[in-house]
């Protein structure tokens, strides 16, 4: 856990100490898209793609700052190693390409938790997320979920840990009535799809647990081998939202996940952002 700086009261507030916890955000009278991310490029924001790896040098992706892979060894222990294989299936590259397109100057990192077979993928996913949270990334994109209840509690703890460490977890929701995680947790930004063609159009959903809808239909995605292809799915709506988070955070790096979610709400197309 990160320690609070010694001069900040973390657990209670003495009389007259209100100014010691003054908030470093200069909130405008009305939060507009222009205030939130006008002119932003994602510069300085570290985005981790927790997925199948990223194909290095793909024209849609550009530079990847770092890449690790999580593997299970023969004794069922999980190792983290530098990833030299890139992307085994293309899913992570597709997500990275969308983030890069909308937040061109963000720093992309890859944590590969998919691709080494389905068996044992739950513990690998948990290890990858734990690592990513400990690295203090600003945004973690999770275009995946697990249905295994045995992992729900640990995922929940990690999601809350990320939330309080100022790491935003953006996760794909399910569009089927199944129990899956971590998108259902309220400390996560969960994303479903809308059918609009504009990549910056997003909606707040007043009927959770899916909290936001982003572009997820007919998306041109990066495809292994340097090309592109048309695809549809919440997997690709999620990195749109991750990129928008990166834009906001590059302009307002002091925002906490709680504050960021409020900014997303206030700038959603069906709230104040459509104007």
């Amino acid at each position: 856990m990160t320690e609070e700086p010694a001069d900040l009261p973390a657990w209670s507030l003495p009389a007259g100490a209100g100014e010691r916890i003054s908030i470093g955000v200069d909130w405008p009278e009305r939060v507009t898209r222009d205030w939130a991310f006008g002119g932003a490029t994602g510069k300085g924001v570290r985005v981790c793609i927790l997925d199948s790896g990223i194909e290095a040098g793909h024209p849609r992706v550009g530079e990847v700052e770092g890449a690790v892979a999580f593997n299970r060894d023969d004794e069922d222990e999980i190792d983290v190693v530098d990833d030299t294989e890139g992307d085994l299936c293309g899913h992570g590259t597709a997500c990275a390409g969308i983030v890069r397109q909308l937040a061109p100057e963000c720093e992309l990192f890859s944590a590969r938790v998919l691709g080494a077979g389905f068996k044992g993928s739950g513990p690998v996913l948990l290890a990858g997320l734990r690592w990513a949270v400990d690295q203090d990334f600003d945004v973690i994109n999770m275009s995946l979920s697990t249905t295994k209840r045995q992992f729900a509690e640990l995922l929940h703890e990690l999601a809350d840990k990320a939330y309080f460490r100022n790491t935003v977890l953006v996760a794909s929701a399910h569009n089927m009535p199944v129990e899956s995680y971590p998108w259902r947790f309220s400390s996560v930004i969960s994303v479903g799809s809308h059918e609009e063609p504009d990549p910056m159009t997003f909606f707040y959903n007043p009927s959770p647990p899916v909290e936001f809808f982003a572009r997820g239909v007919g998306v041109e995605i990066a495809w292994l081998g340097g090309g592109t292809i048309l695809s549809t799915g919440n997997s690709f709506a999620t990195p749109h939202m991750s990129a928008i988070c990166a834009l906001v955070l590059s302009k307002h790096p002091e925002l906490t996940p709680f504050q960021l979610k409020n900014v997303l709400y206030l700038t959603a197309n069906n709230v104040g952002g459509g104007a």
């Binding site: 199948s52 085994l88 299936c89 293309g90 899913h91 998919l114 691709g115 080494a116 077979g117 389905f118 068996k119 993928s121 275009s143 995946l144 979920s145 697990t146 249905t147 295994k148 209840r149 045995q150 794909s172 399910h174 569009n175 089927m176 199944v178 129990e179 899956s180 799809s193 059918e195 239909v217 007919g218 495809w223 292994l224 081998g225 090309g227 292809i229 048309l230 695809s231 549809t232 799915g233 919440n234 997997s235």
Partner: protein
């Protein structure tokens, strides 16, 4: 004893064929509703960590059943490991995919929809619909419809797996469960007088086993 319960619950040997037919009928209907060129269900084989063609309608029907590939490769693999439904179009533009598809299944789809088959907290497999007619744009309503088929297919696949577990138990080494199953089957066939006698004998056997 849970295996024995599974064996009994699944209605034992004859049910497997019935569930296969149900699965086959689901891919037939899915293909018809979407007006697609083919539809298939893949079963996730946990032991070998592979996806197996379990039911196929349309292109490739007949030849593909039983073919296997690693569980995290191909678009079906993406869908299984991410648990996320996915639609991919313009696949024929990609020469690498086209070659691999042609080698493994004999035909190259232009596009496909794939959805994970989730039952309770398990991922049992993947349902795919290939080459629906090119309409203006793919819609989320189609994705939802596919999700409904997926629910049905997941239930059928779950029943099929239970029936297979039952068969494995009955045919398995040791033969204790098989002996019980044979007994149950003969008890079923017996007339009332014989059944009464057999049950009394079984009761006595139970008492004998309880005594030390």
């Amino acid at each position: 004893m849970s295996d024995l319960r599974a064996a009994v619950a699944a209605g034992a040997l004859g049910s497997e064929e019935g569930y296969r037919e149900l699965l086959q009928s689901i891919v037939e209907v899915a293909r018809a509703i979407f007006g697609a060129r083919a539809s298939s269900v893949f079963l996730f084989d946990e032991e070998s960590d592979e996806l197996v063609f379990e039911a196929v309608s349309g292109e490739g029907a007949g030849d593909l059943i039983g073919q296997r590939f690693p569980s995290s490769t191909g678009i079906a693999g993406w869908v299984l490991v991410t648990r996320q439904p996915l639609v991919v179009e313009e696949l024929d533009k990609d020469p690498r995919f086209a070659r691999e598809a042609a080698e493994s299944t004999g035909f190259v789809p232009k596009g496909l929809m794939a959805v994970p088959l989730l039952h309770e907290d398990r991922a049992l497999g993947v349902l795919e619909v290939l080459d629906r007619p090119q309409k203006a744009a793919f819609s989320l309503a189609e994705m939802e419809l596919l999700g409904l088929f997926a629910n049905e297919a997941a239930i059928a696949l779950d029943l099929l797996l239970k029936a297979r577990t039952a068969r494995a138990v009955l045919e398995g080494e040791g033969g204790e469960a098989a002996a019980f199953a044979r007994f149950a089957s003969r008890l079923d066939d017996a007339d009332e007088e014989k059944r009464e006698a057999a049950l009394q004998l079984l009761d006595a056997l139970g008492k004998l086993l309880r005594e030390r």
